[in-house]
Structure formats: structure tokens, C-alpha cells
């Protein structure tokens, strides 16, 4: 079974974004970009399915394909996935923001061509915070989905997936091919070793465009403006617990 892992190049999670003064968008120039953290978790799970580990038998996945839709530099994101153990990459080069619906359509076309048994995506890209692409892809393919996964067990053409839901945990059994999206507790992604980073340089990346898949990536949402949220007037300190309680009661009025 092939496993497809879509990986997105996003602003590094340690960095705080700057809003452009003219409110036209955010300024990412000269900021470190990394693989979306949830996608690292997805790559890790797929690689374990191939190599064995994390409850998966070696060979459960025959091949791991990393796909990114984005600018030329998203190649680096794919290289990171290859260094973690993915076998090959596909870069669908698109400049500018691509909305989840267009990403899902491109991924559908890739699934039609590659016929994976499983697609593992992140539950959420930490830049647009959309939490949509996996579910959209599942709908476009008419495949079952198990989102927000904290455990995946494969057997007999099915995946038993434990999901992090409001209230606790839920387990579903989905027939393959299926879509899974990762939550934080699924695994701890590895750091690529230097030899593997070197090896990854030789692994193939297919270069494509959205037109190759016949997908129109024109945005459906027009950005009217991007603003900074109102600043909180924080920073005040209290010296003692007595003072805290007194202020909560008499100043803030919340007790």
C-alpha cells in the first residue's frame, strides 16, 4: 500500500507573525519557514508504517510519497520529509496562497493517479488554521475519514483510528482507502540524521503545476484586510496572594 503525505511549508511555529502596516496581509520576508508540525507527525507515522514501529508491522506501507503544493522553496519541505524516510516527492508549484479547497482538488487528482491506500494529513496548518483539507479531500474522493488521530492500527484493509474529540477519545474503524488527519499525541516525529539528509538529496521529486491536474487555484475568498488583534492591557503584578484575592474581588469584580 502506498501512503501519501501532504506537507505544507509554513512559518516556523516558534515565530510570531507580523501584520503588514497597510493591512494587506502578513509579512513573512526573512522569517524561518518549516514543515507544518502536524505534517511532521504525519510523515513520522507513514515512515513507521514502512519501516515498522509505533505498532505498525514493517512493510505495512510499501512506499511513502510526500506532496507539497506551494512555491519553489517548498522543495525544502519535501526534502525534510524525504530525510525522515519518505521515498519520493511531488511538488505542485503554485505561487501565492492556495486555499484548502484547491489543495484538496490537486490532492484528489494525485490520488487518482497514484492510488494510495492511505493519505495522512495534518489536522491543521498552523498558518491559516483552517482544519479543512483532509476532510475536503475525503469528500472529493468519497473516502471515509478519521480526523484528529492519536492512534492508528492497520489490519485487514481497515484502519482502527482513535480520535481526540471534545469530551475524550473516540475510536472508528474505516475501510481503506481512507483519509486520516493527525493530532499532536499520535507520535513524536524523529529528527533526520545527517546521513539521511544526504541520502534524501538523491531521492526524486516530481515537479508539477496545478494546470497539470486541471485545477483552478483562483481564490474564492477575497482578503478585505488583515489586522492585528486588539492588544491586551496586561503586565500588572501583585505581590501577595492576599492582594490577588482583594483585587479580584474589589477591582476586577470576578469573585
Amino acid at each position: 500500500m502506498k501512503v501519501l503525505v501532504p506537507v505544507k511549508r509554513v512559518l516556523d511555529y516558534n515565530l510570531k507573525v507580523r501584520v503588514k502596516p497597510d493591512q494587506s496581509g502578513v509579512d513573512l520576508s526573512n522569517l524561518k519557514m518549516s514543515m507544518n508540525p502536524f505534517d511532521e507527525i504525519a510523515v513520522e507515522e507513514a515512515v513507521r508504517m514502512k519501516e515498522g514501529g509505533g505498532g505498525h508491522a514493517a512493510g505495512a506501507a510499501s512506499e511513502v510519497i510526500a506532496v507539497s503544493i506551494g512555491p519553489q522553496q517548498a522543495q525544502e519541505t519535501i526534502r525534510t520529509a524525504l530525510a525522515m524516510g519518505a521515498d519520493r516527492g511531488i511538488l505542485v508549484q503554485v505561487d501565492g496562497d492556495v486555499e484548502p479547497l484547491a489543495v484538496a482538488k490537486i490532492l484528489k487528482a494525485i490520488c487518482d493517479a497514484e492510488q494510495p491506500g492511505l493519505v495522512i494529513l495534518g489536522k491543521q496548518a498552523i498558518d491559516d488554521d483552517s482544519n479543512q483539507t483532509g476532510q475536503m479531500l475525503a469528500a472529493l474522493l468519497d473516502w471515509p475519514q478519521a480526523t484528529f488521530a492519536s492512534k492508528i492500527a492497520l489490519s485487514d484493509g481497515k484502519a482502527a483510528v482513535t480520535r481526540e474529540v471534545d469530551g475524550g477519545l473516540q475510536t472508528l474503524s474505516v475501510a481503506l482507502p481512507a483519509i486520516v488527519t493527525t493530532d499532536l499525541r499520535l507520535n513524536e516525529p524523529r529528527y533526520a540524521s545527517l546521513p539521511n539528509i544526504m541520502k534524501a538529496k538523491k531521492k526524486p521529486i516530481d515537479m508539477k503545476t496545478a494546470a497539470d491536474y486541471g485545477v483552478d487555484v483562483a481564490p474564492r475568498l477575497q482578503v478585505v484586510k488583515v489586522a492585528e488583534p486588539a492588544k491586551r492591557q496586561g503586565g500588572a503584578k501583585v505581590k501577595t496572594v492576599q492582594e490577588l484575592v482583594e483585587k479580584l474581588k474589589n477591582e476586577a469584580g470576578v469573585l
Binding site: 488554521d129 475536503m136 481526540e164 472508528l172 503586565g235
Partner: protein
């Protein structure tokens, strides 16, 4: 235009989030209907009919809807959309799971985590963990939204909408519900709570988390939350996680104990009315947004806080 709100409910009653999403819907249109999908959810349908400003309740009841699985919810909602211009879901794990499937089938781009309704086609939503707020206009013919309920006031009671029964779809044979472990709550639910007490990595163990956080929460009648670090380490269940990728809360009082205040955590609680932080590191970023910061070891401060609250008659 007509707007459909998909109710969050437990079969017997509707969750407060539903009342809040109805308010968001009213910002788009005067014709707001509520869909209650479930199994034996007649009580919830009756409760939805009482939400102020609701025109009609659609009640779909059947085994296929018992767990609101995404595939079956999609099969229910997509055909209904020939009668509606927009569908709104609460941004809960259920709503987030289902809404994009509906959007993709309608070939429209979804708006996630909406915190403001400017008009019937223009919305405000946070991006980058809430460090930027984007106002976007949807050019699609139909709108699909998940709504951050904490950003809206709850619609009141006092409505008397009619309840129409509609057919439940057949169940997908590709997905089966296997089981669930639902955390038993003796306290208010996190997202709707007026007060929240959260613990972080500093707790060091599950026992310590329980010993420190729970008595304080109980004293304040508060819900319990946690940072990702505390959840990852197993000190608290996953659904306690507050933050960019957990739950968003906006209580009147948020107390953060032994939490550093990473941007991902702040994203989930910075809209709280009053924020209290107890942390032994005076440089901890949480202090920048706290209204009342106490630089102290929680081990001494929390027991003292319990005593002082007692003295203050809380």
C-alpha cells in the same frame, strides 16, 4: 437568504454553543433554521425550538446519526443545502470534522473559526494562532462556516419554532463507530465555563495536577484546562487542552498555573476577561497578558489562595 445552523447537542438538550452560533447566523439573515441530527434526539429538537429567533427546527433521527459521523452527516446536510444559502457549524471537534466535507461537496471554500460576521458574505477569522485577524469576503454562492462560539453572545430562550421531522440517511458502510472513552466531568464544561483554572508542565505529574488544580477549580466553580505540555505528559486528558490546536475559551476569569504562555496557548485564552497567572519565572510570557501576575512557586501560592478565597467568602 436562509441560514442553517447545525446544533451541538447531547440528545436531550442543546449545548450553549448552539445558542451562540444562532447569534452569528442572525448577523447574516433573519431566516435561521436549526438542524438537530442524532438518535433519540427529540429532547434536543424541542430545546432548539425554544432558542430565540429560530424560524424552524429540522429534526433528523436515526441510528446512522447517533455519533454524527462525518460521512453520514454529509449525506444528510448536502441535499438540504438546496434550500439554504449558508450553513454554520460550531467550531467543535464535531463541527470541524463535518463542515469541510459539506463545503467540498458544494464546491465552496469554508470559513473556519469565524469570530465576527460583518455581513452575509464577509467574516472575520483568526489566522496564525490569533496573531492576525483577517476579514474575508466569500465569493462563493453558498457559505459554509465553522463558528468560534465564544466570540458570540448566546441567543436567549423564549422562541417557539415548529419542529419538522426529516429522514435520516442510510449509514455509510465505510466507517464504523467502535467505541469511546468520554471523560466524566463533575465540573462545568471548558468551552462554556465562566471560570477556568488551567495547569501546565510545572505540575510534574497527574497526581500533582489533580491535587493542585482540582481543589482550586472546585473552590471557584471553575472548569479545568491544561497546556499542551501537561496533556502530552499525561497529567490531564486531551480534551482539557486550551490553545491554537485545542479548545478556545473566553471565561470571565482564567487562572494559569505553571504555564509559560507560549503563543499556541495564548491563542486559546487571550480573550478571557480577567487573566491571572501564577508562575515562578517573572520573565514568563504569560505575565505580559495577565491582568494579575503573581511571581511565586505554585506549591506555596495555591494553598494560600485557597485559604484567602475561603476568608473572602468564596
Amino acid at each position: 437568504m436562509a441560514v442553517l445552523v447545525v446544533a451541538e447537542h447531547d440528545g436531550a438538550s442543546v449545548k450553549d454553543a448552539t445558542h451562540k452560533v444562532v447569534t452569528a447566523a442572525k448577523g447574516m439573515s433573519g431566516d435561521v433554521d436549526v438542524l438537530v441530527a442524532g438518535e433519540n434526539a427529540g429532547g434536543a429538537a424541542q430545546a432548539a425550538a425554544k432558542i430565540e429567533g429560530v424560524r424552524k427546527v429540522l429534526h433528523a433521527d436515526g441510528a446512522s446519526l447517533a455519533k454524527q459521523l462525518a460521512e453520514n452527516m454529509q449525506a444528510l446536510i448536502v441535499p438540504l443545502m438546496s434550500n439554504y444559502d449558508a450553513v454554520l457549524f460550531p467550531a467543535t471537534t464535531t463541527g470541524k470534522n463535518v463542515a469541510p466535507r459539506v463545503a467540498a461537496k458544494l464546491d465552496v471554500m469554508q470559513l473556519s473559526g469565524v469570530i465576527g460576521v460583518e455581513s452575509a458574505d464577509t467574516f472575520i477569522r483568526p489566522i496564525y494562532a490569533g496573531n492576525a485577524l483577517t476579514t474575508v469576503k466569500s465569493t462563493d454562492s453558498k457559505k459554509v462556516l465553522t463558528v468560534q462560539a465564544t466570540a458570540f453572545k448566546a441567543s436567549g430562550e423564549g422562541g417557539s419554532a415548529a419542529v419538522d421531522s426529516i429522514a435520516a440517511p442510510g449509514a455509510s458502510d465505510k466507517t464504523n463507530f467502535v467505541g469511546e472513552e468520554i471523560v466524566k466531568l463533575d465540573r462545568p464544561e471548558l468551552t462554556g465555563a465562566k471560570r477556568v483554572v488551567s495547569g501546565g508542565r510545572a505540575m510534574g505529574s497527574e497526581e500533582e495536577f489533580k491535587k493542585v488544580i482540582e481543589p482550586l477549580a472546585d473552590k471557584l466553580g471553575a472548569a479545568v484546562g491544561a497546556s499542551r505540555a501537561a496533556v502530552d505528559a499525561g497529567y490531564a486528558p486531551n480534551d482539557y487542552q486550551v490553545g491554537q490546536t485545542g479548545k478556545v475559551v473566553a471565561p470571565e476569569l482564567y487562572v494559569a498555573i505553571g504555564i509559560s504562555g507560549a503563543i499556541q496557548h495564548l491563542a486559546g485564552m487571550k480573550d478571557s476577561k480577567v487573566i491571572v497567572a501564577i508562575n515562578k519565572d517573572e520573565e514568563a510570557p504569560i505575565f505580559q497578558i495577565a491582568d494579575y501576575g503573581l511571581v511565586a512557586d505554585y506549591k506555596a501560592a495555591v494553598p494560600e489562595l485557597l485559604t484567602e478565597l475561603e476568608k473572602a467568602g468564596v
